[in-house]
């Protein structure tokens, strides 16, 4: 029986994805001719550990591919090859390719190797060109470097089977491996097939076999020297495999499939490398970069099941628990023996302390789930880089507030809507450089992502300095789609909001990027599903701002308890603008169906909660109850209830887990007295009451007319 390696897979995937993120970020920082060796080293290290890990776990397709990548990086690192834009593009594509392969592996599928093979042959192309292009050029002048480069780097295949007793004789294979690694780049595959069942294991015996691949400028003697001491106690085979051979084989294979294309690329490549001008990327290559950057990611979302937590967060948690234990001991002591009224004061103190401890503990536990939003933002530099190339626009991306912390679950769910909004801003918000110059703006457009905390919410803003929304176009489209009619007389802001309506798009031509409005309803729906809201502000010619507001966490919310008849419900505090007593003088009734309240120059439609939920209220007289003014989708509505009770934090429980989704209810919670109370979904209630955004706009419009008549 062998060790079950699959238990380590998750860790490997996690580390690999982290490694890929690092590679991507560093690659984006790279500029040909001007880079820090440390940056290359970082990329190299990340690639190397992915290669090592995948080798160990037997994911040979990944290991083989990373190996080629690593060879190129190694040459760049050693100064044997000048870094060009082509290299950077190719490396970035490889990162995407690796990510796809790993995602496939993670979901238990065989990764597609077609893309990898293509990239691999491109790498090999570059690697085999080196001898022509480089040696004639700069390298010849630089004598010490060229000498080391001139030595053929050889590939050693070493199989190492130590004897059972190797550990008992005081030899440590680890040291040997470390020595080997010092010679060059070492890949190792550990064979654990000879490890016996746990019951039969002799703890002091060594059951492992190793396969090494060493890529180094060294003689066989150097390798043999390392194993000299244990020669008699192990089986060792050292074999030389020239690396150039293998790469040529691979190239030959690839050429067999796409000979013509390959030849074209070759020709362009060679000229590129000689010129090493980053701007002149051959068109074919550019298209490739764009298409791979834009390739739809795996739809299967594999939400990772673990998080990395800073040790200080865990320490603070342990401290809290310590205090909780002390408080508990104190309370236990108080409850010992007969209760003496004299103890009442200290009991109250103890309970206050317990409440304090619980709150602290709750905050600490929540903080564990909080991660800086920077990890979502970090994907945007790449997105902007690829998209700006494709659109021929100059775009500068500014990231602000990357340290703002957000619940992990929210983070995973917010990233897709964010990508959508940023793409929209780039594609439709920002103008081309020419248009910008004509409009008297700088050539480079800017997109800012800003995140900050406000109250119990996190606010994310996507700001562009482009042309703003084309209200006329939206209006025309909305009328054509039957979302509004000319007679509605909507304000510009109200018209702009129509882009969030389902099925709305102003895209004239089908673009694979975005049409401002395509899928905006999905964006809004996704954000609302997280108890958040989206706002839009646009100034013609100056740009637009999309503001997303989200609760910090999904697990707990601040709620206002309200009562209707016998029933107690909770309205999330974030939705509530104000609560008031209704002054019947300010009431109007539209068409005998809909009541509105005039509140400071605004008309608020009233929803009677008992009507919507079919409950028996204490009162149906508006003046005897209270109106809770809430906001949903930027529209205010008043919810008529009998009474307001207390405000408290509630832990959200799922109602769907054992029942169904209920319209107008977003979840349930358990109150202090042990009873269940349901949490209202304000947007759902507005829908239940039959009030859509459009109808609300019509109400406002009608009221304006009434006003004008009065005046």
């Amino acid at each position: 029986m062998s060790i079950d390696l699959s238990q380590f897979f998750e860790v490997f995937y996690e580390e690999s994805f982290e490694g890929l993120d690092i590679m991507e970020a560093e690659l984006l920082d790279l500029q040909p001719g001007n880079f820090d060796n440390e940056t290359i080293n970082t990329i190299f290290r990340a690639a190397h550990s992915i290669k090592g890990g995948s080798g160990t776990f037997g994911f040979t397709s990944v290991a083989d591919f990373t190996h080629v990548l690593e060879t190129l990086l190694d040459q760049i690192r050693d100064g044997r090859r000048a870094l060009t834009q082509i290299h950077i593009d190719l490396l970035l594509q490889s990162v995407d390719c690796l990510r796809d392969m790993l995602t496939a592996l993670q979901s238990g599928e065989e990764p597609e190797t077609q893309q990898a093979d293509e990239l691999k042959s491109q790498f090999n192309q570059i690697l085999s060109e080196s001898s022509d292009a480089e040696f004639q050029g700069n390298e010849a002048a630089d004598s010490p470097d060229s000498e080391s480069a001139g030595e053929t780097e050889t590939y050693w295949k070493i199989s190492f089977i130590p004897g059972r007793d190797i550990l008992k004789t005081g030899n440590e294979p680890l040291f040997l491996i470390q020595e080997l690694a010092e010679l060059g780049v070492l890949t190792q595959v550990l064979d654990v097939s000879t490890v016996p069942d746990l019951t039969n294991i002799e703890a002091e015996d060594c059951y492992f076999k190793w396969q090494f691949e060493l890529q180094a400028n060294c003689a066989q003697a150097q390798i043999e020297e390392i194993f000299e001491w244990i020669e008699d106690e192990c089986e060792i085979h050292i074999e030389q495999a020239a690396q150039t051979n293998t790469s040529e084989d691979l190239v030959a294979q690839a050429e067999g499939t796409s000979q013509v294309k390959q030849a074209d690329v070759d020709a362009e490549r060679t000229s590129q490398i000689e010129e090493t001008k980053p701007e002149n990327i051959p068109p074919e290559n550019k298209a490739k970069a764009a298409s791979s950057g834009n390739k739809p990611k795996q739809t299967k979302t594999t939400e990772s099941g673990s998080i990395r937590v800073g040790i200080e967060k865990v320490d603070s948690l342990i401290n809290m628990v310590g205090e909780l234990v002390i408080t508990q001991a104190m309370l236990t002591q108080l409850s010992d023996g007969d209760f003496d009224p004299a103890k009442l004061t200290s009991l109250k103190e103890g309970i206050a302390q317990l409440a304090h401890n619980t709150r602290d503990l709750q905050e600490s536990v929540m903080r564990i789930r909080m991660l800086p939003i920077g990890s979502v933002f970090s994907r945007f530099p790449r997105l902007v880089r690829d998209t700006s190339k494709k659109l021929n626009k100059k775009i500068e991306l500014k990231l602000l507030g990357e340290q703002t912390e957000l619940d992990k679950t929210l983070m995973e769910k917010i990233s897709d809507p964010l990508v959508h909004l940023v793409r929209n801003a780039m594609d439709h918000g920002l103008e081309t450089p020419d248009e910008r110059l004509q409009a008297g703006k700088s050539e480079t457009g800017s997109i800012t992502l800003n995140a900050y905390h406000q109250g119990g919410n996190i606010v994310i803003e996507i700001i562009d300095d482009g042309r703003g929304l084309n209200t006329e176009k939206i209006k025309a489209k909305a009328i054509a789609n039957g979302l509004m009619s000319e007679a509605d007389g909507l304000t510009d802001d109200q018209i702009n909001l129509l882009i969030f309506e389902p099925g709305f798009s102003t895209a004239d031509q089908v673009s694979d990027l975005s049409g401002r409005g395509v899928g905006m309803d999905v964006v809004r729906r996704n954000i609302q599903a997280l108890n958040g809201s989206v706002e839009l502000e646009s100034n013609k010619g100056e740009g637009s701002v999309v503001t997303i507001r989200l609760p910090l966490t999904l697990a707990i919310l601040d709620g206002q308890l309200i009562q209707v008849g016998q029933h107690v419900y909770i309205i999330p505090l974030v939705n509530i603008i104000e609560s008031l007593q209704i002054n019947s003088a300010q009431l109007s009734n539209l068409g005998g169906e809909l009541e509105v309240l005039r509140l400071r120059e605004e008309y608020i439609p009233i929803i009677r909660l008992y009507d919507v939920f079919n409950h028996q209220p204490k009162t149906n007289q508006l003046s005897e109850g209270l109106l809770v003014v809430v906001e949903s989708d930027n529209e205010k509505v008043g919810i008529f209830v009998d009474e307001l009770l207390s405000q408290q934090q509630v832990v959200i429980k799922s109602l769907e887990a054992n029942y169904f989704k209920v319209d107008g209810i977003s979840g349930a919670t358990i109150l202090g007295d042990g009873t269940v109370s349901l949490i209202l979904d304000v947007a759902g209630i507005v829908r239940l009451a039959g009030l859509t955004g459009k109808q609300q706009a019509m109400i406002a419009n009608q009221m304006n007319e009434i006003e004008q008549l009065e005046a």
């Binding site: 029933h567 107690v568 919507v612 939920f613 079919n614 409950h615 429980k653 799922s654 109602l655 887990a657 054992n658 029942y659 169904f660 209920v662 319209d663 107008g664 209810i665 349930a668 358990i670 042990g674 009873t675 269940v676 109370s677 349901l678």
Partner: protein, 161 residues
């Protein structure tokens, strides 16, 4: 029989189930009939307590209750079976069941008049019920069984929600 002893007996019986040819059924009373449900689906038995109503839910859904931190819907089986509704009394009990619906385990409570007994029923005692195509409750009835001169109506409540 009080609820504590019922729950104790329930746990005991669930532990004893070894022989696969005998299936244990928990029986309860409703409108003079005795119904049986597979004891392995029964989680516990509780006394009736006030539930929180779910807005716009069908009449037989009495609301949700708090089962040690889990929100559990409660169904009045009399109303679901279109029997005459009765006032809840001191012996009214809620049987907490684990049902499987669309591949998901759900926990629900059913309100019945009273819990009766636990019987081991052999396959030979088991009779399929006469055709009940016209009866809307037939989808819940898996068969009939004869025990101690009584007829038990055996139920499968997976689709009761």
């Amino acid at each position: 029989m009080n609820i504590e002893s019922l729950n104790a007996q329930l746990a005991e019986n669930q532990d004893l189930i070894q022989d696969t040819s005998i299936k244990q059924y928990l029986t309860f009373l409703m409108a003079g009939e005795e119904y049986g449900i597979d004891i392995l689906t029964v989680q516990e038995i509780r006394g009736w307590e006030q539930t929180t109503a779910i807005p716009n839910a069908p009449g037989y859904v009495k609301g949700v209750m708090n089962l040690r931190g889990t929100v559990v819907p409660v169904i009045d089986l009399r109303e679901k079976f279109a029997l005459e509704a009765v006032e809840y009394s001191a012996v009214t009990v809620v049987i907490v069941l684990k049902i499987e619906q669309a591949g998901m385990d759900k926990i629900i409570g059913i309100v019945v008049d009273a819990v009766s007994d636990v019987y081991g029923i052999e396959a030979s005692q088991f009779k399929t019920s006469p055709s009940l195509e016209q009866n809307q409750n037939s989808q819940f009835i898996t068969g009939l069984a004869q025990v101690e001169n009584k007829t038990l109506i055996l139920l499968n409540l997976d689709q009761v929600l």
